[in-house]
């Protein structure tokens, strides 16, 4: 009995370690990549960030710019891979958070010296969504009040200018 | 009419000359990188 439990425990530990090694590919901050560009140049890196703007389709491939809070960088990937991204970040939307593994270039030969990542492994970590805009009631009130006030001043303004000027 | 014609010629002159300037710099860059 005891021996079987030991085996199960050891096996479980082994499996956990293995999967965490596979998943725990080091995620690097984009800013870190730029700071140590020479070290990371040509290396395989993993970054995680929000897809922003839109995918710029270029034939069989596409550019997807991602922002991880520290900075933003362009990912060059196959169009098919880009198409799995459904949400891109802008004013109204929170983009998909994607994890990208690929080769980092400080001076990409293919792209005229661009700082980029050529990737063929991307996964969506968190789907994006439409951001509900929260409008503070105070803002609406102040907005209306200020317009009304401005209009009052405006009428007063017009009246004053129509009047022939008095002497000093 | 002459005025409009001058404006169009002027507009294109600017575009062409600036493009030529950029081309010259590009060629120079190319030469420098080759010689390095």
């Amino acid at each position: 009995m005891g021996k079987r439990i030991k085996v199960i425990v050891l096996l479980s530990l082994f499996i956990i370690c293995f999967t965490s090694i596979a998943q725990g590919a080091n995620i690097t901050d984009i800013n870190q990549l730029i700071e140590d560009a020479k070290t990371y140049d040509g290396q395989e890196v993993t970054v995680k960030g929000e897809a922003i703007g839109e995918a710029l389709e270029r034939g069989e491939f596409a550019w997807v710019n991602i922002n991880d809070g520290s900075n933003a960088i362009g990912i060059w990937l196959a169009l098919d891979d880009a198409k799995i991204i459904s949400f891109f970040g802008d004013y109204k939307n929170k983009g998909d958070i994607i994890e990208v593994t690929g080769i980092f270039s400080r001076d990409c030969k293919e792209h005229g010296g661009d700082v980029d990542i050529h990737s063929n492994i991307i996964s969506i970590i968190q789907k994006g969504f439409v951001e509900k805009e929260s409008l503070a009631k105070t803002k609406i009130i102040i907005g209306i009040v200020s317009v009304v006030f401005a209009l009052f001043i405006f009428f007063f303004f017009l009246k004053q200018l129509k009047r022939p000027s008095e002497s000093q | 009419m002459k005025k409009a014609k001058n404006e169009i010629i002027g507009f294109f002159t600017e575009l062409i000359l600036i493009s030529a300037f950029i081309a010259i710099i590009y060629v120079t860059t190319f030469v420098i990188m080759r010689l390095r």
């Binding site: 995918a55 907005g143 006030f149 000027s165 | 404006e7 010629i9 000359l17 860059t29």
Partner: protein, 510 residues
């Protein structure tokens, strides 16, 4: 004594009157972001701008009302009024136009909002605004509009369309650092500047729109990106709608189009006018374009050589897109960056940074949207030096008059050489103080110099110093440097002198 006091008080009314109209003119433009946000149902910016337009409008109207007696006494406007109106309206507008930024929540503080507005108006282009990628279209539109307006000249805008009387108009125009007289009538001159800009606005936006679609943007966003990037290029501002600036597009063709328009934008409006009215050779004969072509060519060449030595880039296209592009962007004081800010510090080396500082300070052409010493002054001082050397070497009986060609042939006399040299000196002092403050706070010398040159020359490239957490004194100084640089000192000095004079007069009671 009583008369003096009354005259001074009257001056305040004149200044108030015109400043008020300029404030109102710019305030009206807030309608555009309001409409945009309304159509796109961006409610927060809609209300942000509604509140701002109201506050700004009220302030402007009160200013005009305070000075309303001026209506009937317009001929009394003097030079000092013009200069003070120009410099004062910029300060008021900086605060008023910062309101929508601050309300949006994307600024870390109100000072940061003012910083971004001043950066826009002066067509500098350094950014403190956070999270650009999630900015509303209304606010993004406003940012780029500010560079376009500021580049044209806020006063020029007012002159062209609002001020009914021409009277002292020329004095306001000069107060903003433009002194080229395209046609005798200042109002017509202002209108022509706007006509040329509008035509290029159309052509440029369409060009970038089409290229945008070609490089993969969807048609609607390609239009807005095209519009914004054009405004930023023509005004040599350097703002872009996203965090990555021009790198967002990953496109050589897009970059080239921007180069064409930012170089054109950095040229003197008088030059455009001359070329567009048949004097094509002006583009080559003019001392400013000659100066620019020489210094920018040399700057690019040396930068490429310098960076090639450090093996920063391996190919010619890379060298062109990442070195030449940035040198041209810096020289025209645009500020579009095709590399990350930190890369300047990490990869360019001191020689590369030195070249950047030099071209940023030299700047673009006079009476354009560009900043810096201006090619005209550099050319004049250089020619003045040559002339002096020649005078020393030639026989005493030979009295030669030296000339330079700028639109027409002009006499290269001592007065003009002196005034050019003095303004260059002012720029150098402003730049030096900025560098000193940077080093005081611990930033490396090269980086401090780079950032200081960028704000003084209204360039907009950053080496990484400009962030919300930067020392507040440095932040405030950069705002002042951008302002001084753009207005070319005189009007600001006049404003300061006027204020000090006023305080003195009030102090010494009659």
């Amino acid at each position: 004594m009583m008369i003096t006091f009354k005259k001074r008080f009257y001056s305040i009314r004149i200044i108030s009157y015109y400043t008020g109209y300029i404030v109102l003119g710019i305030t009206l433009l807030m309608i555009l972001p309001i409409i945009t946000s309304l159509i796109l149902r961006e409610w927060n910016p809609f209300f942000d701008f509604t509140i701002s337009i109201s506050i700004s409008g009220i302030f402007g109207m009160l200013l005009v009302l305070f000075g309303k007696q001026t209506r009937d006494n317009k001929s009394y406007v003097q030079w000092k009024h013009g200069l003070v109106v120009a410099s004062l309206s910029w300060i008021f507008l900086m605060v008023l136009c910062a309101i929508p930024y601050w309300l949006s929540g994307h600024s870390t503080s109100f000072i940061d909002s003012c910083f971004d507005v001043m950066s826009g108006f002066t067509t500098t282009g350094v950014v403190l605004l956070q999270d650009l990628d999630h900015l509303s279209l209304g606010l993004n539109l406003w940012r780029h509009m500010l560079t376009f307006i500021g580049g044209q000249g806020i006063v020029v805008l007012a002159l062209a369309f609002l001020v009914k009387q021409v009277g002292g108009a020329y004095k306001f125009y000069v107060g903003e650092g433009k002194d080229i007289e395209l046609v005798p009538n200042v109002k017509s001159t202002a209108r022509i500047i706007w006509k040329i800009s509008m035509i290029y606005l159309f052509v440029g936006t369409v060009a970038l729109w089409i290229d945008g679609i070609v490089i993969g943007l969807n048609p609607v966003s390609a239009f807005f990106h095209g519009l914004f990037i054009f405004c930023s290029a023509w005004s040599t501002g350097g703002f872009a709608p996203t965090t990555q600036n021009i790198m967002y597009y990953h496109s050589f063709s897009f970059e080239i189009i921007t180069i064409i328009f930012f170089i054109l934008g950095s040229l003197n409006f008088g030059l455009h006018y001359a070329i567009w009215t048949g004097k094509k050779r002006e583009l080559i004969k003019n001392i400013e374009t000659q100066s620019f072509f020489i210094t920018s060519f040399l700057g690019c060449a040396f930068a490429v050589i310098g960076l090639a030595k450090l093996n920063v880039y391996s190919g010619a296209i890379s060298a062109f897109r990442r070195v030449v592009y940035n040198v041209l962007s810096a020289h025209t004081t645009t500020g579009f960056g095709s590399i990350y800010a930190r890369q300047f510090a990490l990869e360019w080396g001191d020689f590369g940074i030195f070249i950047m500082v030099a071209v940023m300070l030299i700047g673009g052409s006079a009476c354009s949207t560009a900043g810096g010493f201006k090619g005209l002054r550099v050319g004049i001082v250089f020619k003045g030096l040559i002339a002096d050397i020649r005078k020393l070497l030639s026989s005493e009986r030979n009295v030669k008059a030296y000339k330079f060609h700028h639109i027409k042939d002009n006499l290269l006399d001592d007065t003009i050489v002196k005034s050019s040299a003095l303004i260059i000196l002012c720029y150098i002092v402003t730049f030096s103080i900025g560098t000193a403050i940077g080093t005081y706070y611990g930033y490396p010398l090269a980086s401090s110099a780079f950032e200081s040159a960028s704000v003084t020359g209204n360039v907009g490239l950053s080496i990484g110093i400009t962030v919300p957490s930067m020392p507040i004194i440095l932040k405030l100084y950069y705002i002042i440097a951008m302002y001084l640089g753009r207005l070319e000192f005189l009007s600001v000095f006049t404003l300061i002198g006027y204020v000090i004079g006023g305080i003195k007069k009030l102090w010494v009671k009659e």
